[in-house]
């Protein structure tokens, strides 16, 4: 059975929702959205609408004053009291009720966190019910339909003053030494988890931060749900990649997966490999890659460190999805490739060096200097340099033409001098090959031009022939048509088939290119 390593941090105090920087611990990149969110006013919530009538809350006695015999009963009453929802869009509505609920939630958090023996079986359904009623809701539409998580301020959840305490309580509940997975699994079931996962789309980074830690605990403690959680995360990612391109919690889910992958047993199950190839690699195509790239690259490298044989899938996958127009993403890809090369096994390197260095050569000749520069930095990495040196016989011919050409043509002086350094390194590495390649550079160029001419010739011939063929085809079909009109038995096909298609054939793209 695979194991999962729990992240070392957890939300420390109930009053600061922001002090959960485990994201920063994993990737070292604090998320801007989180920092900026602090100054923001909350605005949106679609939570309130599901409550039909308002109940007047009356304060209950304090838990700490309750006699032991009364404790569980009172705890239960407080849970029920906390099932009442309040309208936070109207900030002055029912202030008294809001305060009573807030105090009750605080007490519940306190009690679960500090006293032992509180969590007895009958409280599980009530606890899960209270949590469900509070946190599960259809997320409101984004206030900004073109919300760009990199540029725009997120919309914050209006009911956060209560919601945060509910999340805190949930987390304390899961982390309590009294917590019994065998009891909880009856209530924290697949349906519950599915709803929990949907909340990861919340625009509020504070909420996603709690969800991340909570889901991680659930994954760690409720073993029966693990496969289901992984499958549903897959579905969320696949929808994100192929359908909507929109999901706010991708980074958080990837962070959890990072530590899940860490715990995978060897040899890797085919399910896990499929996840890598069909979900993680295609995630690189997302427009919003920059938001979760650090977490994604971490997951990818984790896979490689687990099992070196997946290296080829990864590299070939990245090459397949290599950005064609977005230079910013290209720089990210190059960064990820370097992370991968940092831990690659030499035997795996040999399997991918050819396509990989063709791409690197293409990057070096990019007119965008940051792309070229990022690619050329590979030669500053000692491990990569040693791999290149071992295989210079293969790699040098792949990149030589590009280096030679770009060194003469690139507009940016920094790039030109970086290329000189790289050429110099190669010269020292393998001077014989270097001289041969320099000598044959002109001849190769000529050959290239010749091939170019031959290709043009071939297509010209093909297109001329096509003209003739089309005429013949046209005549044939006219003849067929005449035959049909004379009452010949029709072809074994429906009437709207080939013959009326003829004009279509003529007008469709490829035929009109002569």
């Amino acid at each position: 059975m695979e194991t999962t390593k729990l992240p070392p941090t957890s939300p420390s105090s109930p009053t600061t929702g922001f002090s959960v920087p485990s994201a920063e611990k994993v990737d070292g990149f604090p998320r801007r959205s989180m920092r900026r969110a602090r100054q923001r006013r909350s605005h949106s919530s679609s939570q309130f609408r599901y409550q039909s009538s308002q109940v007047e809350l009356t304060p209950l006695p304090l838990l700490k004053d309750a006699p032991v015999a009364e404790l569980h009963n009172l705890f239960c009453k407080k849970l029920q009291q906390c099932c009442v929802l309040f309208d936070f869009l109207d900030c002055v509505a029912d202030l008294k009720g809001k305060e009573i609920k807030r105090a009750a939630l605080n007490e519940l958090v306190e009690s679960v966190a500090t006293s032992r023996g509180v969590l007895i079986e009958p409280l599980y359904p009530e606890t899960i019910k209270m949590i469900s009623v509070n946190i599960f809701r259809t997320l409101p539409p984004s206030e900004n339909p073109e919300f760009d998580p990199e540029e725009d301020e997120p919309t914050l959840e209006a009911s956060w003053p209560h919601l945060q305490l509910v999340y805190e309580f949930f987390l304390r509940f899961l982390e309590s030494p009294d917590f019994q997975p065998s009891m909880a699994k009856r209530y924290v079931d697949q349906k519950f988890v599915l709803q929990l996962l949907e909340l990861f789309d919340s625009e509020d980074p504070r909420e996603r931060e709690y969800l991340k830690t909570i889901l991680h605990r659930v994954y760690g403690k409720l073993l029966g749900l693990r496969a289901y959680i992984r499958k549903q995360i897959n579905n969320i990612f696949l929808r994100f990649i192929y359908e909507t391109e929109h999901f706010n919690g991708v980074a958080e889910l990837l962070e959890i997966l990072g530590s899940i992958i860490n715990g995978f047993a060897l040899p890797l199950k085919s399910e896990h490999k499929q996840f890598l190839v069909r979900v993680l690699i295609p995630l690189h195509t997302a427009k919003s890659l920059s938001i979760f790239h650090a977490q994604l690259a971490y997951c990818v490298v984790q896979f490689m460190e687990k099992d070196a044989t997946v290296t080829e899938y990864i590299i070939r996958g990245l090459l397949k999805y290599w950005p064609k127009t977005c230079t910013q993403k290209e720089v990210m890809f190059l960064g990820e490739i370097e992370e991968i090369l940092d831990v690659i096994e030499p035997s795996q390197f040999i399997r991918v060096q050819e396509p990989l260095f063709k791409q690197i050569a293409a990057c070096i000749s990019s007119p965008h200097f940051q792309v070229a520069e990022r690619a050329l930095y590979f030669w500053n990495n000692e491990y990569i340099l040693s791999l290149i040196e071992e295989n210079s016989q293969v790699i040098l011919p792949l990149v030589f033409t590009t280096l030679y050409r770009v060194s003469k043509e690139h507009w940016n002086q920094t790039i030109v001098s970086l290329i000189y350094n790289v050429l110099k390194t190669f010269m020292e590495m393998n001077s014989k090959l270097f001289d041969d390649l320099t000598a044959s550079y002109k001849v190769d160029k000529q050959k290239e031009l010749k091939r170019e001419r031959e290709r043009a010739e071939l297509w010209r011939g093909l297109e001329e022939q096509q003209e003739r063929r089309l005429q013949t085809l046209g005549e044939t079909s006219r003849n067929q048509k005449n035959l049909q009109e004379r009452g010949e038995p029709p072809q074994p096909s429906s009437p709207q088939t080939a013959l009326p298609k003829q004009p279509d054939l003529k007008s469709s793209g490829p035929y009109s290119t002569t």
Binding site: F48, L462, A498, P510
Partner: protein, 589 residues
């Protein structure tokens, strides 16, 4: 065909396949896009036996190449030898229908749907339907998703045993484990229902519809709403209440706003599909709720439907329903908190006046129009102004003109140039409705002020606007009110304003006619040929080229020609170029 076959030896397939395998993606893509040329060069036989197997085996390419391939194969029937061989195209398309990238898959399905029509009924059962089954039971969700789009094209033309199998497969996919497949099935439910026999619609489709409409994922449920329209259209009226309405009612009150949004968005279609009785009893209250929904998205979608919904109400009770049920909600929406809602409402609210008639419009709608004309959001005001023609027909625009003017002036001076641009575009319409006196008195200054706006797009639109006004009010009006002001700008110290004069002349000369052009405009243009800014000078050349056709040959020869000849020797190369061009076009050389 003998002569054509002789050419084959020129192009061994290896050469052609090399082109399809070229290392450079761009070249590969070019080759694939000309796949039909290659197929034609090979002839039908070798296309079937050599090219298609090659294509089927090498579907591991860039998505862009695969997309081109999927598209090409949809038009390949003739190239493989006509309908009797069309099934040869199935293997490569089947592989394409299973790839990850949605765009490629969708295109493959589209091509499969297209060529399914070219299959004979026998081939459909022997070749096509097994493919659908294989896709429907594929391991990965992509193939099952693709299968959903293929059931409806083969169902009508196969035997009843095969039909039963197809229905079974569709049922299975509707309860698939992955939401992606359920979404695909739900989105094809309506289309599939249309080709089914009515009995099966009642027995099969309804239960699938009910299940999908209560799926745990809202993304599936909302697609069932779309299917609801088709299904309701198919069923006889007496079955609607029991088979469709419970689900529709539930959808209109779904806890997810996305589903409610979908209901609002499809409301007119739903209304037509369920007929007048159900509309009166069920849809009216549902519509009221959607107009009062807690999410602005839903309210906007519903607000957009207000006019269409009211129009399609049964005539006998239309007015009562609108006055007692709909109008109170509309009144609230006028002061909604979301500007999207208000703007959606403003784009249709004027349409209600034709439905309600003069008295109701004056009493109930006019105050709402006036309130929206004063809305803080420019888009709302614009939407009202852009639909003035509806009101004009019913009560005449005079009722509104007092409130209209401040609104127009404010929009005309809005800080956002796109708003200014939008109001300019309505000027000719407004001028037509308000009449020439009102225009001269109140709006003329605005139109002239736009000519010196600091945004080029506004100056350009203002020029075009003048032309439309002249078309409306005639040349004489132009000569008295517009032309003097336009020509006056020729002496402006700002060269951009001087150029605007030229642009206006370009636009106005034709509408103003030969007389005004020759007498008033031409002298100004000619004088500007001495401008010190080269941009002005080459625009003079362009203007002369433009107004040349309006002038008589005497003016062309004696006045235009010498100036153009002088400009053709200008020191600036652009001035020279345009002067020469004008000389050539006007045939003055």
């Amino acid at each position: 065909m003998a002569g054509a076959d002789g050419d084959d030896s020129l192009y061994p397939i290896a050469v052609l396949i090399d082109e399809l395998r070229n290392e450079d993606v761009q070249l590969r893509l070019n080759s694939i896009k000309k796949l039909s040329t290659i197929a034609l060069a090979l002839g039908v036989e070798r296309t079937r036996t050599e090219l298609l197997p090659f294509l089927t085996d090498t579907i591991y390419d860039e998505d862009e190449v695969l997309l081109a391939l999927a598209e090409q194969l949809g038009n390949f029937t003739m190239l493989v030898g006509g309908p009797e061989y069309v099934h040869c195209l199935l293997p490569p398309l089947e592989s394409l229908a299973t790839v990850e990238e949605t765009v490629v898959r969708d295109k493959a399905v589209e091509s499969l749907r297209k060529i399914s029509q070219e299959h004979s009924p026998v081939d459909l059962e022997v070749h096509f339907e097994p493919l659908v089954k294989r896709l429907a039971s594929g391991d990965w969700f992509t193939s099952r998703t693709s299968a959903c789009g293929l059931f409806s094209v083969c169902y009508p033309r196969v035997s009843s045993t095969v039909k039963a199998e197809i229905r079974q497969h569709f049922r299975t996919l509707c309860s698939d484990d992955t939401p992606m497949v359920r979404r695909a099935a739900a989105s094809k439910l309506g289309e599939f229902a249309k080709v089914l026999e009515l009995d099966y619609v009642k027995s099969d489709i309804i239960s699938l519809f009910t299940a999908l409409a209560s799926d745990e994922q809202d993304s599936v449920r909302l697609l069932a709403v779309e299917a609801c329209v088709s299904i309701a259209t198919l069923l006889p009226q007496e079955d609607l209440e029991t088979l469709v309405m419970p689900t529709l009612r539930q959808a209109a009150e779904d806890k997810s706003w996305r589903v409610r949004y979908m209901v609002a968005d499809k409301f007119s279609e739903l209304q037509k599909a369920v007929g007048p009785e159900i509309t009166k009893n069920d849809l009216v209250p549902a519509f009221q709720n959607l107009l009062k929904d807690c999410e602005a998205e839903v309210r906007s979608a519903a607000a957009k439907k207000v006019k269409e919904f009211c129009e399609n109400l049964p005539e006998d009770s239309r007015e009562t329903i609108i006055m007692t049920h709909i109008l109170p909600c509309v009144k609230e929406l006028v002061s909604d908190t979301s500007q999207h809602v208000k703007s959606a409402l403003a784009s249709v609210i004027m349409g209600l006046s034709t439905i309600l008639g003069k008295d109701n419009t004056v009493e109930h709608l006019l105050p709402l129009f006036l309130a929206q004309l004063k809305d803080e959001c420019p888009e709302v005001r614009l939407n009202i102004i852009s639909n003035l023609d509806c009101v004009n027909e019913v009560i005449g625009i005079r009722q509104l003109s007092q409130s209209l003017l401040p609104a127009i002036v404010e929009l005309a001076e809005d800080a956002k140039w796109r708003v200014r641009l939008a109001i300019i575009e309505y000027m000719p319409l407004l001028a037509g409705q308000l009449g020439v006196e009102f225009f001269d008195e109140k709006l003329n200054t605005l139109c002239m002020a736009w000519l010196i706006d600091h945004v080029y797009a506004i100056r350009e639109a203002a020029t075009c606007n003048l032309m439309k006004l002249v078309e409306k009010f005639g040349a004489e009006w132009a000569q008295n009110t517009i032309v003097p002001k336009v020509l006056g700008m020729a002496n402006d110290p700002n060269y951009l304003h001087r150029m605007t004069t030229l642009f206006c002349i370009n636009a106005l000369s034709e509408a103003c006619g030969q007389d005004i052009t020759t007498k008033h405009m031409l002298p100004v243009v000619l004088k500007m040929s001495n401008d010190q800014v080269a941009n002005v000078r080459f625009n003079v050349a362009k203007s002369l080229q433009k107004i040349g056709p309006v002038l008589d040959s005497n003016a062309l020869q004696t006045e235009v020609k010498p100036v153009l000849e002088k400009l053709a020797t200008d020191t600036d190369m652009d001035v020279k170029y345009f002067a020469q061009e004008a000389i050539r076009v006007l045939a003055l050389a």
